[in-house]
């Protein structure tokens, strides 16, 4: 159907405009991260990368910038990586068993358990932020890695996805396993989990991005400079957002904050797209 001669250039023109819209802010940040602060403030800023690229990134990675109390972006990235992995792995690890339990067993209060998990789908941590902070403080989780990750693990998205997938596993498979003498635990470990690996991969990407990009919760629950995540570190470096800000370091840090989730999305694009679109079908 596509491209009958005359209009064939139009889709490409529109898509190229789309690419420009998407890439322009990132490109400008990249150029700024290779310039000196003086060159950036001398408007209009050039759009040709300068010679300071490696020096700026090295300075940001090792020493951070004004406002970060000497904490380098390298440590911040490690913190972010830990938070993202803990959220992604933790959520998958608690969701697989709970989804398996509600699908493959009948026990009293099953529906109640399911609904208790299901309602958490609706309420992002942002809307109950102060009480959640209070709970974390009561449990002495403020400024700990556990405090950073645990409250964000409490949500139902992964459980619902695995539940939907488990419902599609044919009965015959479970019957056959039973005849072969496999109990529910062996069926879970040797059949249900391996069959879910595409879903696990998709969820991992989505949750990794969700975790890496968290802002409000880490802002509240971390205090000491050594616990700063990279997204929070940028906030500290910006300060008032005026000319005093070390914009060359801010932009280097912004690109370092963008890089890991982008790599994860591009590397795992196929699974990620399937996982993002399938669950609501």
């Amino acid at each position: 159907m596509a491209g009958s001669g005359r209009g064939a250039w139009l889709p490409h023109a529109v898509l190229l405009a789309g690419l420009a819209v998407v890439l322009f802010p990132v490109y400008v940040a990249f150029v700024a991260s290779s310039l000196s602060l003086r060159d950036i403030l001398d408007a209009p800023m050039t759009l040709i990368p300068g010679p300071g690229l490696f020096a700026n990134y090295r300075a940001a990675l090792t020493a951070g910038g004004p406002g970060t109390s000497g904490v380098g972006v390298g440590l911040m990235m490690a913190n972010s990586l830990f938070m993202a992995l803990a959220i992604a792995v933790g959520k998958i690890a608690i969701s697989l068993p709970s989804a398996y339990a509600v699908v493959f067993f009948r026990f009293p209060l099953r529906r109640l358990c399911f609904w208790m998990i299901f309602v958490t789908l609706m309420l992002p941590v942002e809307v109950r932020i102060i009480p959640t902070y209070k709970v974390a403080a009561d449990l002495r989780l403020v400024d700990t890695y556990a405090g950073l990750a645990l409250p964000l693990i409490a949500s139902a998205t992964a459980t619902l996805l695995f539940r939907q997938f488990f419902l599609t596993i044919p009965d015959e498979l479970a019957e056959a396993a039973k005849l072969d003498g496999a109990g529910p635990w062996r069926f879970f470990v040797w059949v249900a989990i391996p069959l879910s690996r595409t879903n696990i991969a998709a969820l991992f990407v989505i949750l990794f991005i969700y975790g890496w990009n968290q802002y409000l919760w880490p802002l509240l629950v971390t205090d000491s400079p050594g616990m700063t995540t990279i997204v929070i570190g940028i906030r500290q470096m910006i300060g008032n957002g005026d000319a005093e800000t070390a914009w060359h370091l801010v932009m280097a840090t912004a690109l370092l904050a963008i890089l890991p989730p982008v790599i994860v999305v591009l590397a795992m694009q196929r699974w990620f797209v399937a996982g993002l679109i399938e669950p609501e079908k």
Binding site: V22, P25, A43, F104, V127, I153, L216, A243, E280, K281
Partner: protein
């Protein structure tokens, strides 16, 4: 087919239920309790005030202004993220060469944190050194989002919408590719031109996807944009960009008005529940189309 037994399912459910109760039900209950109590002047004790906090919130012009800003912001973000998303998806559905490349690049903003998207746009639009902001001033536009509330709102809307385009693009493209080619070919044989085919066949068949995305985008704009607001405008100038999630945080953490902030949390929870209920209605409708 079900396995027998009670102990194993109980053990399997325990981790998730424990995390959910501690970090979800407990705080949600505390929000409800706090929302009907008020601290005394010294912050030493609280007393029951019933609907007092809610009455105070709805009598507060600052809160009502924040409600108005939130709705304006959310709808603007949803429209500005949905229309280009649909346009790029329709175009990407037509191209053969380079489709994978376009798709990969258009998806990029999805991976970028809202707070970082805010920083990128703030940097572009800074009135004194931003490449777009200073350019606008040289063209004679009086651009200064630090002083002009409308411009500030426009800037956070653009940043928030930019981040969401890739997500919408992806869903629209999947929706388009699910439309049977034979349907469009039959219409073409009947003499319908491409514009007519789009509005009479493609667009109606995309309606369920569009409704779904509309709700998702509004939820995103309401709850996931805190980082954009804080990095770009801090809710200002004045209150021009103070959306509800920002106000909950500000009143609770900076203003230390725990009762008022908790009552705002309860109102936000009600909004999310309503939006989720709407979403489920439309997800059900999807099934009928599918």
């Amino acid at each position: 087919m079900y396995f027998p037994g009670r102990l194993l399912p109980a053990l399997l459910l325990t981790p998730q239920l424990a995390v959910t109760i501690v970090f979800f039900f407990w705080p949600a209950a505390q929000a409800l309790v706090l929302s009907v109590r008020r601290e005394d002047a010294f912050g030493l004790s609280t007393h029951f005030v019933g609907w007092g906090n809610f009455a105070a919130i709805f009598a507060d012009p600052a809160y009502l202004a924040s409600v108005a800003v939130s709705f304006l912001f959310s709808f603007a973000v949803a429209v500005l993220a949905l229309v280009p998303g649909l346009l790029f998806a329709v175009m990407a559905d037509r191209v053969v060469r380079g489709a994978a490349f376009y798709k990969a690049v258009l998806l990029l903003p999805y991976a970028i944190a809202p707070a970082i998207a805010g920083v990128l746009w703030l940097f572009l639009f800074n009135p004194s050194f931003g490449i777009v902001g200073s350019g606008l001033r040289r063209l004679g536009v009086d651009w200064d989002y630090l002083l002009n509330g409308r411009q500030a709102l426009l800037l956070v809307i653009l940043a928030a919408a930019w981040k969401q385009i890739g997500y919408n693009f992806l869903f629209f493209l999947a929706g388009l590719q699910a439309i049977p080619r034979s349907l469009l070919e039959a219409a073409a044989l009947d003499g319908a031109n491409s514009r007519r085919r789009f509005w009479r066949i493609t667009f109606p068949l995309l309606a369920p996807t569009s409704f779904f995305l509309l709700v998702v985008n509004i939820v995103y704009a309401f709850f996931d944009t805190f980082g954009i607001i804080q990095n770009v405008t801090q809710g200002g100038p004045g209150q021009a960009t103070e959306i509800l999630v920002y106000k909950v945080w500000y009143d609770g953490v900076v203003g230390l008005d725990l009762g008022g902030s908790a009552a705002q949390s309860v109102i936000l929870m009600a909004i999310v529940v309503a939006l989720t209920a709407i979403q489920f209605r439309f997800v059900e409708r999807r099934v009928h189309y599918g």
